[in-house]
């Protein structure tokens, strides 16, 4: 009943979206405002319709309707209700519906905005959104239907949407259940965050295409979608960070990022999105980089679709073997087609997008932003090369060769260092023209302080030269950024007669994009401290201990106290929990309780670390194995991850920084247009 209803509504949504597409194209070409209005209303309707369909699916999920194949695949009786709801995006068919539903929500929101000044964009924005929704709904309706049910046909169980001849419905006793590794709060919100990020990028792309088609290629499309791209960036970043935290908490290998192709698939649109965020500022201030911004937004959209294709399967350890499914070729085809059409449009409108001025100085802010973009693109190229290298090598040499994390670390480290250096220089450079002299005058104090700090670190903390370069750059960026805050606040303090903190707060409030950006830079540096710490200074050891025995690592002593193992039938899990006492230099710090949870239905273990986290380092203890009867011995693996907490602290500040920057205020059209030709110091207005 609910399955037929859900599927029926899906088909109706598909038809409505298709109608809107046709009506929008017709309305735009024939200049028929009534048709465009009709398509706008149709598009608005898709979201409530899909919500009904989604509600039917969620109802089936939480009420154990295992005759529905998707419900059978992703839920089981022992799962709590909230996990059954989130199982919606725990499998492929459901996650495609989820994607389409989110995009429909955003599309509805877009259709509701005031269109008076941008009415020529409306039909084409609808077209892009409708095409994307139709593609995803098409996948769901024709190939990956979440409402397919099991039917008993002549003694065999077969999945079909509608009853075959002489078939009866087949309802399994219990479902497969969600992979236990995914039953984690971080994993519950990680996919929706990534998807929100992916989907939000469709909107800037839609406006860009509308600008190309209508020939209205001024900055309007950028100004209209600036906040969309910021929110998209926020969600995508948050999704990536959550994924890292989840890996750290659940996967039990003491790391947070493994350069897995699926991770890279989510990372690549983030790279182009970040480059886009920077380069649109140049177009707004200087009227440069117009072609480039189009290319970036097109690339981001293509990478979003490609990323969905790679990440949708959600199979964790499937590093190189993605689940083969009939929709793979469609995704590749769709990505290729949209890339082709977008680039054709761009070439057609190329002459309209010439820069309004020329870049004059290699050290001007726009030149440094260009360099920033080139570096982001370089990281993208490295990442893309790593993902496709096995295919390329097989094609040309017949031998499949792959590259692992060392490749990415080696090739991207200098690029990231370059980006950090730019973060230290660019805020001090001026639009139009800067020289070594002006930059040097603005920078020397910070550079000197960073150098002194690096020397101190050399004598007190580490002689590792990569770490020292990293710490120098981090310190440089932090000092420069703080100096910028201080300089501008003091200037305002003098001019307005406010106290320092009022001046600082008002200054930041007046120019949230600039100072929000600086907060994000600071947070990036905190994250960099954590990454340097865990990448360069991580220590590990392992061993088997009898009760009361100790083992040492990096100043810490852990003593194995006891172990207990008990089943929880209700949850379908057997818990095994060890208790270890932790000492540092003979002082008792507390106990840690690493665990192994064994899930009966999936016959799978989940290793939960005991983690003691401080600003200095994390002591991360894993229970590896135990001998229950004879000796009560247990085997532990212990990591000391210096400074890694800064990664998470930086992540939180990072999110705060984006929210600060992206929080809606007035209509973006009121903001000042081009910056003056040359200013020696960045003015407060930019």
């Amino acid at each position: 009943m609910f399955a037929e209803f859900g599927y029926g509504i899906l088909v109706v949504s598909f038809i409505v979206a298709f109608y809107s597409l046709i009506a929008a194209v017709y309305g735009a070409l024939r200049k028929s405002a009534a048709m465009v209005e009709s398509s706008r209303r149709g598009m608005f309707l898709v979201f409530p319709l899909l919500s009904l369909s989604a509600a039917a699916l969620v109802y089936l999920l939480i009420t154990n309707h295992f005759e529905v194949a998707f419900v059978y695949e992703v839920t089981s009786r022992s799962m709590p209700t909230y996990l059954k709801v989130t199982a919606w995006w725990g499998g492929q068919a459901g996650s495609l519906l989820f994607w389409a539903w989110l995009l429909a929500a955003f599309t509805s929101a877009v259709t509701l905005r005031k269109w008076e000044r941008d009415i020529e964009f409306l039909p084409w924005v609808i077209v892009v959104n409708a095409v994307t929704i139709i593609f995803f709904l098409g996948m769901v309706v024709f190939y990956e239907n979440p409402f397919t049910r099991f039917w008993l046909v002549a003694g065999n169980v077969e999945p079909h949407m509608f009853a075959p001849l002489a078939a009866t419905l087949f309802t399994p006793q219990d479902g497969n259940g969600l992979n236990p590794l995914l039953r984690h709060p971080g994993m519950v919100i990680h996919p929706p965050m990534l998807y929100l990020g992916f989907v939000s990028y469709v909107i800037p792309y839609a406006f860009a295409m509308a600008a190309l088609i209508t020939g209205r290629t001024d900055d309007r499309w950028i100004r209209l979608t600036r906040r969309w791209s910021l929110w998209a960036w926020l969600f995508l970043s948050f999704g990536l960070v959550l994924g890292g935290r989840w890996a750290y908490d659940v996967l039990g290998w003491g790391g947070y990022w493994g350069w897995d192709p699926v991770e890279i698939a989510a990372f690549m649109p983030w790279l182009t999105g970040t480059a886009f965020l920077h380069s649109v500022m140049i177009q707004e201030k200087r009227g440069l980089f117009k072609h480039w911004n189009m290319i970036l937004v097109i690339l981001t959209y293509a990478l979003v679709v490609f990323g969905t294709f790679l990440t949708r399967s959600g199979v964790l350890s499937s590093v190189h073997a993605f689940a083969n499914s009939p929709i793979g070729p469609f995704f590749m085809g769709y990505t290729a087609l949209t890339l082709f059409v977008s680039i054709a449009l761009l070439i057609w409108r190329w002459p309209l997008l010439h820069g309004e001025t020329e870049m004059k100085s290699m050290l001007s802010r726009e030149a440094l932003f260009l360099l920033n973009n080139l570096l982001f693109m370089s990281v993208l190229i490295v990442s893309f090369w790593g993902v496709i290298f096995p295919l390329v090598s097989e094609l040309f040499t017949g031998q499949k060769v792959t590259v692992g994390p060392p490749f990415y670390e080696r090739a991207t480290a200098p690029l990231f260092a370059g980006l950090m250096l730019l973060m230290g220089i660019a805020p001090l450079s001026a639009w139009g023209h800067s020289t070594i002299k002006t930059l040097g005058r603005a920078m020397w104090k910070s550079a000197l302080a960073a150098a002194i700090l690096t020397v101190v670190l050399f004598f007190t903390y580490t002689q590792n030269y990569i770490a020292l370069i990293g710490f120098f750059l981090i310190a440089l960026v932090l000092f420069v950024t703080f100096q910028e805050f201080g300089r501008a606040a003091r200037a305002r303090q003098r001019a307005q007669g406010e106290n320092f903190f009022t001046a600082l707060a008002r200054l930041m409030g007046r120019n949230r994009r600039r100072y929000g950006g600086y907060i994000i830079h600071i947070s990036m540096m905190l994250m960099a401290i954590g990454i340097l710490g865990i990448e360069i200074f991580q220590k590990e050891t392992q061993g088997s201990l009898a009760q009361g025995e100790q083992m040492e690592l990096a100043g810490y002593t852990i003593e194995y106290r006891e172990l207990a193992s008990w089943p929880d039938e209700g949850k379908g899990v057997n818990f095994t929990r060890a208790v270890v006492d932790v000492y540092e230099d003979g002082i008792y710090l507390g106990e840690l309780t690493p665990r192994i949870d064994y899930y009966f239905d999936s016959q799978q273990n989940m290793t939960i670390p005991g983690n003691r986290s401080t600003l200095k380092d994390d002591l991360y203890v894993l229970l590896v194995d135990w001998q229950p009867v004879s000796s009560m011995g247990a085997t532990f693996k212990v990591f000391v991850n210096p400074l890694v907490n800064w990664l998470w602290i930086g992540s939180l500040l990072f999110l705060a920084g984006i929210i600060f920057t992206a929080w809606p205020d007035h209509d973006p059209a009121e903001e000042p247009l081009r910056a003056p030709q040359s200013t020696n110091q960045p003015s407060a207005a930019d």
Partner: protein, 160 residues
């Protein structure tokens, strides 16, 4: 003058990226191999960085928790996705591989925690080197168990 400076700068960056990619690829390339290929190449690939994939034989899994040494055997599975699909999908191919004694097998040794997903009929994807003794010494071990989560049709079928 200005223009040429920018082009020069761009060319330098491009050259740097090409160099980074090229040298890093050289330094960290791992050769994908199947069990059959490793057996056929033998001594020729001893000491090279390899990425080997195979079907885990459940009976051979041994773990010494004193030394954290894990050993098991893997049976040959094809490295070609299309071929795996043609033979009925990964789960079917792994099942066949484990139950076919005529297939080539390689012993694997890995030191570290026993992975949660390790069991018979899992696909092991291992990075490491082949020793002169014919044992594959893995530094990294990834596992894929397709049977449980991609099962389209319930197991109860056979009982009907």
């Amino acid at each position: 003058m200005q223009r040429s400076k920018f082009f020069l700068g761009g060319a330098l960056i491009l050259a740097a990226v090409v160099y980074l990619i090229f040298s890093s690829t050289q330094a960290s390339a791992e050769y994908f191999m199947t069990v059959n290929e490793v057996k056929a190449e033998g001594a020729a690939v001893v000491g090279k960085s390899l990425r080997l994939s195979g079907a885990v034989l459940g009976d051979t899994i041994q773990y010494d928790s004193q030394t954290l040494t894990l050993t098991f055997d893997v049976a040959h599975v094809s490295g070609d996705n299309a071929e795996i699909e043609a033979q009925g999908g990964l789960a079917e191919v792994l099942y066949q591989a484990v139950n076919d004694p005529s297939l080539q097998r390689v012993s694997v040794q890995y030191v570290g925690a026993k992975p949660d997903l390790l069991r018979g009929e899992a696909q092991a994807i291992m990075t490491g080197k082949l020793g002169e003794d014919g044992v594959f010494y893995a530094d990294e071990l990834l596992l894929k168990c397709p049977t449980k989560y991609e099962e389209a049709v319930p197991e109860q079928v056979s009982a009907q």
